[in-house]
């Protein structure tokens, strides 16, 4: 049963790799920012799945903090590209 959760986490990690591929290939900066945002969301999902796999309820809190903070980075870069700040 635990192996099933780790299998799911492994598949999500493969998707993170596809996002990193977009980070490598992406011709413009917005492509890379979208890749960063996709990595953020996938990492949050991965953390919650790993919390189930490790059977630790406290690990969900990290995913919450993480989801909150990853938003700030994307917001800053988006404001820079827009010409704000």
């Amino acid at each position: 049963m635990t192996s099933l959760w780790f299998l799911t986490a492994f598949i999500l990690m493969l998707w993170i790799f596809l996002s990193i591929l977009r980070l490598i290939l992406g011709p413009t900066a917005p492509d890379r920012v979208v890749a960063l945002d996709t990595v953020n969301t996938l990492v949050v999902a991965l953390m919650i799945i790993l919390a189930v796999a490790y059977n630790q309820i406290i690990y969900v809190d990290i995913a919450i903090v993480y989801a909150l903070l990853s938003f700030v980075t994307t917001l800053y870069i988006a404001k820079y590209l827009e010409g704000g700040i």
Binding site: I20, V33, V43, I58, I62, Y66, S70
Partner: protein
């Protein structure tokens, strides 16, 4: 437990790839983005090594603060690395 090992290997490869990208790009904004990905993956690595407090600190500092401050610095100076 084979998938746990595979997950670990893939994560470490991702850390190395994003760290290489962060020093390779000429576009400094792309470097900051690659550094953000590096920081996120490092936080996930701390999480998998079962150090949740370090993972929280890394997520807060690396993900939240560092990239934002780098973007502010790029805004203040120049975005493209100049070739001598």
């Amino acid at each position: 437990m084979i998938f746990e090992t595979l997950l670990h290997v893939l994560l470490l490869v991702g850390i190395i790839v994003s760290a290489y990208l962060a020093i390779r790009y000429r576009d400094l904004l792309a470097c900051a983005v690659a550094l953000g990905v590096f920081s996120f993956l490092l936080s996930l690595e701390f999480y998998i090594l079962q150090a949740p407090d370090v993972a929280i600190a890394e997520a807060g500092i690396g993900a939240g603060l560092t990239t934002a401050i780098f973007v502010l610095a790029i805004k203040g100076t120049s975005r493209w690395e100049v070739e001598e």
